[in-house]
């Protein structure tokens, strides 16, 4: 008993020290610099006049950058455009060498949205954070003698079928920092979003704001949430590319945030009705236990991922039917055809007993992801990082010793149990079936 108390005390101490060190090493406890709110990001791929429908700049298969590259081929019916600015034609403005590209989106006080693409021929151009009259800005710095081309795309509020293109090209003998973003609260009504950036960004020390996106948001379109059935009680989804090849981890991030996985379950019997929704932090795999019903029903399960302040992307859906006893009738490809076709009911007692088994089955393939603790009253969430890499960094040899002892003790325990199992197997009178002790 004394040994047990010592073990329990050590365990509690270990847990407390782990949590304490997590908090110690956690990120995002509070804003660290004045620049943390400068960068906002978006996946908006359209421009819009306040009184008009959005004009899409892209479609599902091309990203905005490709579209911009073919800007001179506009307009697409029925839209028309009008060239303004210092360059008389698109081609003349575009003829400069494109070394770095930046694309920004600006939301105006009247709700309209404009786009801006900036190119430079300076291969060493950088993105810099700096203060102007006490206001933090993010600007693009071009070295002396290089060009900066600025192309604006704005809708015509008086004619929804038309928008303006303003190609401008400037040369800066002394160099320049062209500001492209500042915090929303410093320019009321205006929100400057960064859509894409190729400039090398120099972040301030201890910067904890959003990172400037260095890939098109559309790149995430190569990944889609794919749902399949792994057991009779739940669906398991995971990210896959368009060839249905899965990824080891998450294929993309929303800046510093983990994408959200959203699952919606619709009943399609007697008209489509939304039955259930689930929104959770995405991981390489995500699961959902579907609801049962009192009669045979047709369902549609829809999954999509989204980023904070972003609309959904890449929807996957499957149609299926559940019979009166809650078993799956048809619709979703099953990993184990034999077992899926049996359609066992999903009663509470059965679920209660098999769920620990499912839980144990998931243990060997668990991958650690940072734990995000939501904080009340608008405080920034606390992120507890995975501890093993931190142990490895600071306590390498001790960790190895600890893991060796732990593994050895467990291996010894397993060996004893295995011996007992084999002995039991060879005893013809021992007909007990061993399952996991719940």
């Amino acid at each position: 008993m004394k040994g047990l108390k010592i073990c329990l005390s050590s365990l509690v101490l270990f847990v407390l020290s782990s949590i304490a060190s997590s908090v110690l090493f956690s990120t995002g406890a509070s804003a660290a610099t004045d620049y943390d709110s400068v960068i906002s990001t978006t996946d908006a791929s359209y421009v819009r006049a306040s009184s008009c429908d959005p004009i899409q700049l892209t479609n599902a298969t091309t990203n905005w950058g490709d579209y911009m590259g073919g800007w001179n081929e506009l307009p697409e019916t029925p839209y028309s455009y009008q060239i303004q600015g210092t360059e008389t034609t698109w081609d003349s403005a575009r003829s400069m060498t494109k070394e770095k590209e930046y694309i920004g989106v600006t939301e105006l006080p009247d709700g309209s949205i404009q786009a801006q693409i900036i190119w430079t021929d300076d291969p060493d151009a950088t993105g810099e954070f700096h203060m102007v009259s006490g206001v933090p800005y993010f600007g693009l710095y071009v070295h002396p003698g290089y060009n900066l081309a600025i192309y604006s795309l704005s809708p015509d509020p008086t004619n929804c079928d038309r928008y303006y293109v303003e190609p401008n090209k400037f040369n800066f003998p002394s160099g320049v920092t062209y500001d492209v973003a500042n915090p929303p609260d410093t320019s009321p009504g205006y929100v400057y979003y960064t859509y894409y950036n190729e400039f090398t960004v120099n972040y301030p020390e201890e910067y904890e704001g959003l990172t400037v996106p260095s890939s098109f948001p559309g790149d995430s379109s190569t990944a889609q949430p794919d749902i399949f059935m792994s057991s009779m009680v739940s669906f398991v989804g995971q990210f896959s590319d368009r060839n249905f090849l899965t990824f080891d981890g998450l294929p993309f991030m929303c800046g510093e945030f983990v994408p959200q996985i959203n699952i919606e379950v619709f009943s399609e019997t007697g008209g489509e009705t939304l039955l259930d929704t689930l929104s959770t932090t995405a991981s390489s795999q995500f699961s959902y236990t579907f609801p049962t019903s009192s009669d045979t029903r047709d369902y549609r399960i829809v999954s999509y991922y989204s980023c904070p302040e972003m609309t959904f992307d890449q929807v996957s859906f499957y149609d299926f039917q559940i019979n009166s006893s809650g078993g799956l009738v048809a619709g979703i490809p099953c990993n184990a055809e034999l077992f899926c076709s049996l359609n066992l009911p999903t009663y509470g007692l059965t679920q209660a007993i098999v769920s620990p088994l499912t839980f144990i089955g998931q243990i060997p393939t668990q991958v650690c992801e940072d734990l995000i603790l939501p904080m009340p009253h608008g405080m920034q969430n606390i992120t507890l990082p995975c501890m093993t890499p931190i142990y490895q960094t600071y306590l390498g040899p001790i960790l190895l010793t600890y893991q060796t002892i732990l593994t050895g003790m467990f291996a010894y325990y397993v060996s004893l149990k295995l011996f007992g199992n084999v002995k039991s197997l060879t005893n013809p009178r021992d007909d007990q079936v061993e399952t996991v002790k719940l």
Binding site: S18, S355, F359
Partner: protein, 111 residues
């Protein structure tokens, strides 16, 4: 030594899951009558029991971090998966033969 790379945890995990699904199927078959009775006569208890898987799903979201916090090496988890795989499947595989043998013995003694 790279503990995590010593054995293929993914393969062990898949095998364990397969074994567990077989056990879940058997448990489901055995419990169906009493489960149906509970669902029919005591629907509130049935609903309460249905919340248990949700609890485990919730616990599962923190499992990876907890394993990391305790620095549990991957090989230990693989050991555990392998052990339960053996314990569950071997006994299940041999059990029908032992059962038949016991029945045969009982009938033989009776006659």
């Amino acid at each position: 030594m790279d503990w995590d790379g010593l054995l293929d945890a993914g393969l062990m995990g898949d095998l364990l899951r397969m074994a567990i699904e077989v056990v879940m199927l058997l448990v489901g078959i055995i419990l169906t009558p009493i489960s149906a009775l509970i669902a029919l006569t005591l629907p509130d208890i049935n609903n309460a029991l249905l919340s248990i898987p949700i609890l485990f799903d919730y616990a599962n979201t923190y499992l990876g971090w907890i394993l990391s916090a305790f620095a549990i090496p991957g090989i230990l988890l693989t050991f555990m998966a392998g052990y339960y795989l053996f314990a569950i499947t071997s006994k299940l595989a041999v059990w029908p033969f032992k059962l038949a043998l016991n029945w045969y013995r009982a009938l033989k003694l009776g006659s």
